[in-house]
């Protein structure tokens, strides 16, 4: 359970927000403990959203492709593309009928396009998360390599001494 400070804003100076939040924090802890004692999951619905962070270790090319993923993910939707044509007598009726059919088709096409976009964005997010994990791994490797280099130096000095 996260810190309850700064979770709410109440402008009335007569209300002691700190005291209220302390009470709430206490109740949250109590309920969590009660849930745990009963073998229940109090935090069942609490979830976090993955965030996109800048990378220092991935190549410029990889970062560019990652940002492209998001830019293109929603360019799937279909436009209504109709032109008004001039046929004497039947123009209005024909145009309306065609427009209706066209809209009907586009409505369902875009529904599926919308689902595709959701998949695209989810896949993009997953890839970015993996990229971030990779960056953390690379940073860890770098740190270990530096430590190793230092140890080697120290060993070398000891041997020389």
């Amino acid at each position: 359970m996260t810190d309850t400070e700064s979770a709410v804003e109440i402008s009335d100076p007569a209300i002691d927000i700190d005291e209220m939040m302390r009470r709430i924090s206490e109740r949250l802890r109590t309920r969590q403990a009660q849930a745990a004692a009963q073998g229940l999951d109090y935090d069942y619905l609490t979830n976090t959203r993955p965030t996109l962070l800048a990378s220092r270790h991935l190549s410029k090319e990889t970062l560019e492709w990652l940002s492209q993923l998001f830019l293109v993910s929603d360019e799937v939707l279909t436009q209504v593309a109709m032109r008004d044509r001039r046929f004497p007598l039947f123009n209005r009726l024909l145009f309306r009928f065609e427009m209706l059919l066209h809209r009907l088709v586009v409505k369902y096409v875009n529904l599926y396009a919308g689902r595709q976009i959701v998949f695209n964005r989810t896949a993009s997010r997953a890839v970015v998360c993996l990229a971030w994990e990779l960056e953390r791994a690379v940073a860890r490797i770098e740190s270990l390599e530096n430590q190793l280099a230092e140890l080697r130096q120290q060993t070398s000095k000891s041997e020389q001494a």
């Binding site: 359970m1 979770a7 007569a14 009470r23 109740r27 109090y42 436009q79 919308g114």
Partner: protein, 356 residues
Amino acid sequence: MLPYFAYGDAIGNQAIEIRRLLREWGYRSEIFAENWDRRLKQECRPYREYDRYSHSDNLLFVHYSTGAEVNQYAKGLNDQIVLYYHNITPADYIYWVNGELARQLVEARKQLTSWLGRARAIAASWYNAQELKALGFEVAGVVPYILPFESLDAGLKGKGASQILRHYADSGMTDWLYVGRLVPNKCIQHIIKSFYYYHTWINPASRLFLVGGSEGMEDYFVFLKNLVNALALAEAVIFAGHYGAAEGLAAFYQIADLYISMSEHEGFCIPLIEAMYYALPVMAFASTGVPITLNGAGVLLKRKEYPLVAEIAHEITTNHALRSGLLKAQDRRLADLAPSTARAQFHACLATLAQH
């Protein structure tokens, strides 16, 4: 002129009220729409009929909230166009439930700046005005929603309100209330999840009323129903459907103990103010236009932590000092948003627009 003349929604109601005021002040005024709710058929005309009335002396208010043919049509006219900006829901929220609407929203966003230099702009809220200014528009004025308190009060005398009160009032339950369309950007699933904690761990004698329609968002409605079933809340969560002022909407405000919003996109959010009018403490997630609308009233949630939201709701409904303080602050905010004030602002804005 507007893309869809909806029954009981903010833009539709505002269009009707503006027409009424303009006629009261001696102007000729009509509503033209691309599509309309069948209940409003007598209140508007098809936008193509405007060809007959178009004139360079006319002030044409184009209600802008989504992409539509009517926007392109209006741009081609010689009338003095006033872009009345109601904000555009980010398409991100809508893709997975209504692809066609998402496309229209993307289009609306792309086309908005093409109105620079072509139309003067007014905004329905101070938040919307800020957005327009950031895009380079010179905003001629803010014309706030003229809140329908009289209609809401009148609806309390009707059969609809009596049925609601008979069925739900004086039950001994603690009632949460949400009013508005069941659309993804309003994040009703977050309200349901917060209510889950309240109902399960704090107060089982509780109900959540979700009052609003889901036309065009049927997949989202199914998602919400499935969530309610998965959380075993089917007896406690009431999907009431759409209620307008005439159908007794105000009765829900009277029954409830708390109003909650977890919306992530609002240009203004009228139900927050309606809740304040009926002395209902308001708790809302601090996003987009909500903090400006509340302006220090109510409880602003900075984070969506469902157990925490549930506990704050518990405080609001049991801590009399807190409740009383909140209601006093809400009354002060309500005074700023009185219908008479909004009408005066519209009148002043009209004078500015008519001068040019």
